[in-house]
């Protein structure tokens, strides 16, 4: 058998080590990427639904009582909170917050409109 033919044990060991490092790198990158993409989707979904809540309130100002909404989108449970804050006799702030993770920050949408919140309707 020629000395030039076949694989040496050293070669195999080095190759396996490199492969292991490569797989470790992949295992490190892939979850981060997947998480990042998931977070992107969550941000977009939260922003889009938050804007819906915002537009809904701007179209017809609801009472100032804060309302919370729980919504599941993309297999994630979102907690929305819409609150109206009187600024003065003509202006009202609409604050919409969305959270879906205990560790990551959510989003906060705030705008100001002319008008006053509707009167509370007692049951």
């Amino acid at each position: 058998m020629s000395a030039r033919r076949g694989l040496s044990i050293l070669e195999v060991v080095v190759a396996m080590a490199l492969l292991a490092l490569g797989f470790l790198f992949v295992l490190g990158i892939v979850p981060t990427g997947v998480t990042s993409i998931k977070r992107s989707e969550d941000i977009e979904a939260a922003t889009a639904y938050g804007m819906e809540l915002m537009e809904d309130a701007r179209h017809s100002l609801p009472p100032a009582t804060a309302h919370e909404y729980v919504l599941t989108m993309n297999q994630t449970e979102f907690h929305f909170r819409r609150e109206l804050v009187r600024v003065n006799d003509d202006l009202t702030d609409i604050v919409v917050t969305a959270t879906w993770s205990e560790t990551l920050p959510g989003i906060r949408l705030v705008t100001r409109v002319q008008g006053q919140p509707a009167e509370e309707v007692s049951d």
Binding site: R5, L7, E11, L19, F23, I37, S40, T47, I107, V113
Partner: protein, 653 residues
């Protein structure tokens, strides 16, 4: 094939080790180092895949974050616009005085205002600061052009002669900062008077939109209003009508805005002819409220009233209306002069009725009375130059030109009575008041090119009641009509008293021939009394016109493009059934009641034997068979008092 691929066997030995390994790999031969190269290749592929995945995820995250930031910053910009609108609206509503000096101290100083934080309250709720500046040295600066009817230069025009900010507009540049990122938005806000018809009194429209039973069209055309209507039909806002007895009212030249008016029977007959159609009338109004009551749409038939509070509804296409160069002049409707006005959108009922401010007439040129033509009918005796009593709020008593009468007016000389026997009765020959008789058409021309500068040649005044009707005060008591009208080109005419164009009806009875009674091109007519138009035409060219009077009674036809402002009540009806009166622009009517008295055609209030009195009360605005179409181009006087509307808000590229 291998030779063709460049791997000739004889050359393999000459290859370097890496090339030889590559060659052996391609040949399917195993050799030391082959596994390492294979693994390195695999790792490279893995690395590329991982980097791609990472890059994509980061890019995706950035895009999602950017989307979120964009939405948040847009909301912040819209909040800033709401803050500005609220402050300007409050400043406008604070102008509760009868005379609004909009060019003066009441105008908010936005440059100083926005040197302070945009949100004086609740700024901590926002995810970042918002920046607005009216300092022209800044990169992105805003421009307040909301009180000007000419365009202005904006931040886009730096270094050029462009004027990108439209009239009556605010070009607002808003910087919203979230984290380290600032997004700039540009918003365009415009002031616009939103109502085609505005009165705190009742609006009554008459005219049948249906066909008669025999298939013929009705002789009474439907009234039609296109645009928003502001009406406050609660008569609590309107003082009770006076109750004078006909004939007891002294004739007071010039007309006192607080008294009833007397018109001749032809006009009332026209109105009465239309009044039986009242069953098809449309009363436009709403619930009693100090809030604007806005009714959108087209009225030619019964409609339901929609109460929308302060929300504007309308079907009027006002796009592109800023491109017009129309200038309907109103004294003071310039950037250089003062503007005194009482119309405001939110406290209309409080201010409109008795608070119109007439312009300073000291700069007007007095008109000299025209001489009668040779074939003119007998004329009344020359009255003494009695100075007319200045109406309240009309003139400055300290104005030397305003109080004395025109002593040099060449009034016609007295002529003998046709009977040849001058009346000995003082009751039969009362001293007639000064009265400007229009013998011929009065044509007034201003400069060819209207300017905003003061131009005396374009301002005229008549210091007494005027008209084309005059009365013989000696037996036989007769009324003569000259049929003269008034035509103005780039001119302003001020009449301190009634303007009585009440007899433009042709003498031959041809109702189709209508003599022009009042016509204007870029003109303004101010009547400190009652404007009467009977059987004539009322028209204005595309350059527009403004009529300002205490009361208006118009039985005319034509296409009038402009603004009509009436302090008290107005009645507009066609010159004859079937005639078309079209008003393109808008009407503002005070809504205070007015009583009309129709008497014998030979009636004159100075003649005691009145009989067959017909009395009609007017409250607010009465439209008979009149088409009224909203056109803000002809309401520039009012546009600066309109609320701000957001035309656009968009991110800068």
């Amino acid at each position: 094939v291998r030779i063709a691929m460049g791997f000739a066997p004889h050359a393999v030995a000459a290859l370097p080790p890496s090339g030889r390994i590559w060659y052996n790999l391609r040949m399917g031969r195993q050799e030391r180092g082959t596994a390492l190269v294979t693994v390195l290749l695999a790792c490279s592929v893995l690395l590329v895949v991982c980097l791609s995945l990472g890059s994509l995820s980061i890019l995706n995250l950035n895009l999602a974050g950017g989307y979120s930031i964009k939405q948040q910053s847009l909301l912040m910009a819209e909040a800033a616009v709401a803050q500005l609108k609220s402050e300007l609206d409050k400043a406008q509503q604070a102008d509760t005085g009868n005379a609004v000096e909009m060019e003066g101290a009441n105008r908010p100083d936005l440059l100083a205002r926005f040197q302070n934080p945009v949100f004086p309250e609740g700024a901590d709720r926002f995810p970042g600061p918002v920046t607005i500046t009216f300092d022209t040295h800044a990169d992105h600066y805003s421009v307040d052009n909301s009180y000007s009817e000419t365009p202005a230069a904006g931040w886009r025009d730096r270094g050029s002669s462009g004027q990108s900010v439209p009239p009556f507009s605010i070009d607002l540049l808003i910087g919203a900062t979230i984290g380290s990122r600032t997004v700039w938005y540009e918003a365009l806000l415009r002031r616009r008077w939103p109502y085609v018809l505005c009165t705190p009194g009742k609006v009554t429209m008459m005219g049948s939109p249906t066909y008669a039973k025999d298939g013929r069209t009705t002789t009474v055309q439907p009234s039609r209003i296109v645009g928003n209507i502001f009406s406050l039909p609660n008569l609590d806002f309107v003082p009770p009508p006076p109750s004078p007895e006909p004939g007891d009212e002294p004739y007071e030249p010039p007309a006192d805005p607080s008294t009833d008016i007397f018109v001749d029977a032809d006009l009332i007959n026209n109105i009465l002819e239309l009044m039986p159609k009242e069953r098809s009338s449309v009363n436009v109004g709403g619930t009693a409220s100090l809030k604007p009551q806005i009714s959108p749409g087209v009225y030619g038939m019964p409609v339901s009233i929609t109460s929308t509070g302060n929300t504007l509804l309308g079907t009027v296409d006002i796009s592109g209306s800023d491109t017009s160069s129309t200038v309907a002049v109103y004294p003071g409707n310039t950037d250089t002069g003062s503007v005194r006005h009482n119309v405001q959108p939110y406290n209309l009922a409080k201010n409109l009725q008795n608070a119109f401010q007439l312009p300073d007439i000291s700069s007007f040129k007095e008109l000299q009375m025209q001489k009668p033509p040779p074939d003119a009918p007998p004329v009344p005796p020359a009255p003494p130059p009695v100075p007319p009593a200045p109406p309240p709020n009309a003139t400055d008593p300290n104005d030397p030109e305003a109080t004395p009468g025109p002593t040099d007016v060449p009034l016609p000389s007295p002529s003998p009575s046709p009977s040849g026997s001058p009346s000995a009765s003082p009751e039969a020959s009362p001293t007639p008041p000064p009265y400007y008789v229009l013998y011929d058409d009065l044509v007034l021309n201003g400069p060819e090119t209207p300017t905003f500068e003061y131009d005396e040649s374009a301002r005229y005044r008549i210091m007494m009641p005027a008209g084309n009707r005059y009365v013989m005060y000696k037996n036989p008591r007769k009324i003569y009509y000259t049929g003269a009208g008034i035509e103005l080109h780039n001119a302003i005419l001020y009449i301190d008293g009634d303007l009585d164009l009440s007899s433009t009806k042709p003498r031959d009875g041809d109702s189709a021939a209508v003599i022009p009674a009042l016509r204007g091109t870029n003109a303004t007519v101010i009547v400190n009394g009652t404007l009467l138009l009977v059987n004539g035409s009322l028209s204005a060219s595309e350059k527009g016109m403004v009529i300002f009077c205490r009361r208006l009674v118009s039985a005319a036809q034509g296409h009038y493009r402009g603004l009509i402002m009436v302090q008290k009540s107005a009645a507009i009806c066609p010159a004859f059934p079937g005639a078309v009166m079209e008003i393109q622009g808008g009407i503002v009517c005070g809504g205070a009641p007015v009583s009309l008295y129709a008497l014998d055609p030979n009636y004159d209030p100075r003649i005691p034997d009145m009989s067959d009195t017909i009395r009609v009360h007017l409250q607010g605005l009465h439209l008979w068979s009149t088409r009224l179409t909203y056109d803000p181009r002809y309401m520039k006087t009012l546009n600066r008092f309109g609320p701000l509307e957001v035309l656009t808000i968009r991110p800068l590229e």
